[in-house]
Amino acid sequence: MTGVDVASPRTADGISLRDVEWRIEPREFWVVGGLLSSGKTDLCLTAAGALPPARGSLRLFGEEVGGGFTQGQVNQRLRVGLVQDGGLLFRHLNVAENIALPLQYHHDATLEDVLPRLSAWLESTGLHDRALQPAGSVGRNWAQRAGLARACILEPELLVLDNPLTGLDPRHARWWLDTLGLLWRGHPLVSHRPMTLVVTCDDFRPWIAPGRRYALLRGRRFEPLSPTLDPGELPRLLLDEAP
């Protein structure tokens, strides 16, 4: 992102972050901290190419991002996966159909055609018993996992996660940290290829160990933190922001 103003449908002036300068290198693990309404969700949507910036240049894998749905633009967008807050499953589908949808849509396949890959992801995320439940009836812990499986089933190179630990119980939070670590190193279900990860959070504490690069959202600015900063200092930075 170069000189990007991140658009927002929720703020009065339609901007949530100004002048964002951000470059993500392959195999990095970014943790971006920010309090409520600091622009985390808008930043994630912009980084995933779903929300065009109000100003500035957004390039994914070296190419300018377009807002359309031509095959070229879609292929570029599919190299990025996004796990939205709460999984954001489609309520008219069940859990399995939600996970399989991108694969079915982009490969013009039936549910039976994608069953082997779907089953592997259901197994890996512990969703096998909930596969046929309507998306609206599964709890947040499981909906979030289904969101991860849906984002990963097309094997993106960059995975953006919007506040993935919010509202999860400690067992599930542990599972997420382990799984993201595995994805970063190379998960068997994504052909052992290491993924680049970007995670947003409102509490740095669980991310001190897995994170490699850190940034802070405050005062409508994106502030990358120095790699030499002591990670132990991170939680305090967000606490200083609190009213």
Partner: protein
Amino acid sequence: MPKGSIIGLDTETHLRAVRELRASYARWLGGRMVHFVQTLQGVAAFGLITLGVLATHRGRASQVIRPLVWQQVLRCGVSLLPMVLFLSMTLGLVVIGNSLAYTNRVGASQWIPKVMGTVVVREIGPMLAALIVLSRAGTAIVIELGTARASGEVEALEVLGIDPIHYLVLPRLIGVALGVICLTVYGIVAALCSGYLWAFLQAIPILPGEYFSQLTASLHPLDFVILGMKSAGLGVLIALVTCYHGLARPLQVDEIARATIRAVTQGVILCVATDALFLVVYLLL
């Protein structure tokens, strides 16, 4: 009361009040009309975008889109069939009952099939089907799409590289159009049959063969072409207006009810206007 005054106001004050009232009414009316024209413009633009997607995405993801189309046909056609049949039969009785009352007085009961053909096939059939689909399926479409928009599901589709117009709008457009066409045909048949039944019970000396051959003679082959175009057009219009109001702009959950009311109101106005347009076509034939 002073001379030249009305309800206690002097003439000048009264005239000023009337002028202000007129101006405020004109402002309100003008505002509503401008808003309506803007919406029409929006719906037309939305229709062109949808047409573009229909052309560029043809055959794409057919394994996903086809079941969605059938789901919509089921909802807008099959599930509404009992209601359409009931209302059509009732309307057939009403039309023929009223017509008989007058035609019998002047000894023109042989015109009954012609009246039925004109009123039911040209006007009541397509409009009835369209209004039922608008009120039952149209409202559901606005609520579904509005909720998807408000909860961020539309952005989630975009993130997955799925065009929301292709996935959400096209199946509804095709489903609603097919639904209205099928319901129109079933509704017309039901109304004509119930009309004959009523005439038969009223001891009108018309045999079924005679009734239906007179009915056929009263219709022009172009009537069927225009009927198909009209019902498909009304279906497309309903789908576009309801999808537009559900999707076109960011909605909060509490705005969905108002968007639904707007969609239904504008849908009714557009259906009636389209019907009037087809009346002109009929008159020109």
